[in-house]
């Protein structure tokens, strides 16, 4: 078993309204910044032991599908690196 860190990024699907991002964008504009869009995402860093990077990714993907993301509104990405290198 090797120590890995899986990085999971969960974001709203394109087309799903993101009121928090809209509010953040408006606040940046109030500060005088010019921007044409803003999207936010949640990032999870999961430390876990696995036999291989592929096994670590499989476990992290299952964690994401079962809890971290809601497939109705979210897309997600999972990447894996040796622990301490992510």
């Amino acid at each position: 078993m090797t120590a890995y860190t899986a990085t999971v990024t969960v974001r709203l699907k394109r087309g799903v309204l993101d009121p928090e991002a809209e509010t953040t964008k408006r606040s940046l504009e109030r500060l005088g910044f010019e921007l044409s869009g803003l999207r936010s995402a949640d990032r999870f860093e999961i430390d876990l032991e696995a036999d291989s990077p592929a096994a670590a990714k499989e476990t992290a993907t299952e964690m994401t599908e079962r809890l971290l993301a809601n497939p109705t509104i979210h897309d997600y990405e999972v990447s894996v690196a040796a622990a301490g290198q992510s």
Partner: protein, 224 residues
């Protein structure tokens, strides 16, 4: 013969639900989620509140607690299950009902009376009403915007799964009457079976005459 009002850490409408049901002459008790459903359970309410602090997503953690498997089995066996507010979010997160309730369009917590149009009167939850009736019930949520893919929304409509829509006092379903940006002004939906339902507004807060209207009592009478 008792309705189980399931408490998670952070539930806060469980007492209101028990009191409203008791007022209607329906036996009800609060049940801590770790204790499981009592064997005499004849109905289940997932009450409002902020289970697990709304961490991750509202309802996400509670939806994956072991008691939800028991509630799913009970629902499959015909036991009526109602999710209110946070309970509605839990219902969607657990797959009892389709879609998701997420951040309000205006990104703020909204606590106000709203009007609902009864879309179907032939369900246990709406037997006290006529289709097209307008009832006034309060909402209190920051994440009540109903979200679902267009394809699945069309299927919900085709399958007649929409129970309540936000409307104007005259029953017209308008954008102005939509408090949170929900697709199709959806305030409440049915699960696969008519005896499973979730809604963001609080019928238990519109049941006791001493604290306001009683328009919500009809929903809770499903448990009688």
């Amino acid at each position: 013969m008792t309705v189980a009002v399931v408490q998670f850490g952070g539930s806060n409408c469980d007492r209101d639900a028990v009191r409203a049901l008791t007022h209607l002459g329906i036996d009800a008790e609060r049940v801590w989620h770790e204790d499981g459903l009592p064997s005499e359970t004849t109905g289940v309410i997932l009450p409002g509140g902020f289970s697990y602090g709304d961490y991750l997503r509202a309802g996400a953690m509670a939806a994956r607690s072991p008691i939800m498997n028991e509630i799913r089995s009970a629902a499959d066996a015909g036991t009526p299950v109602l999710g209110v507010c946070n309970g509605a979010q839990i219902g969607c997160e657990s797959g009892l009902t389709e879609g998701a309730f997420t951040t309000n369009e205006r990104a703020r917590f909204q606590c106000e009376p709203v009007h609902l149009r009864v879309e179907r009167a032939d369900t246990p939850w709406t037997a006290a009403y006529e289709a097209g009736d307008v009832i006034e019930v309060p909402i209190a949520h920051g994440e009540g915007r109903f979200e679902i893919t267009d394809e699945r929304y069309d299927r919900l409509e085709a399958d007649d799964r929409i129970l309540f829509r936000y409307c104007a006092p005259d029953g017209s379903v308008t954008e102005a009457a939509n408090p949170n940006g929900s697709i199709g002004n959806v305030a409440g939906i049915l699960g696969e079976s008519d005896h499973v339902a979730v809604l963001m507004p609080h019928p238990e807060r519109a049941t006791l005459p001493d604290i306001g209207g009683t328009d919500g009592a009809g929903v809770l009478r499903a448990f009688a």
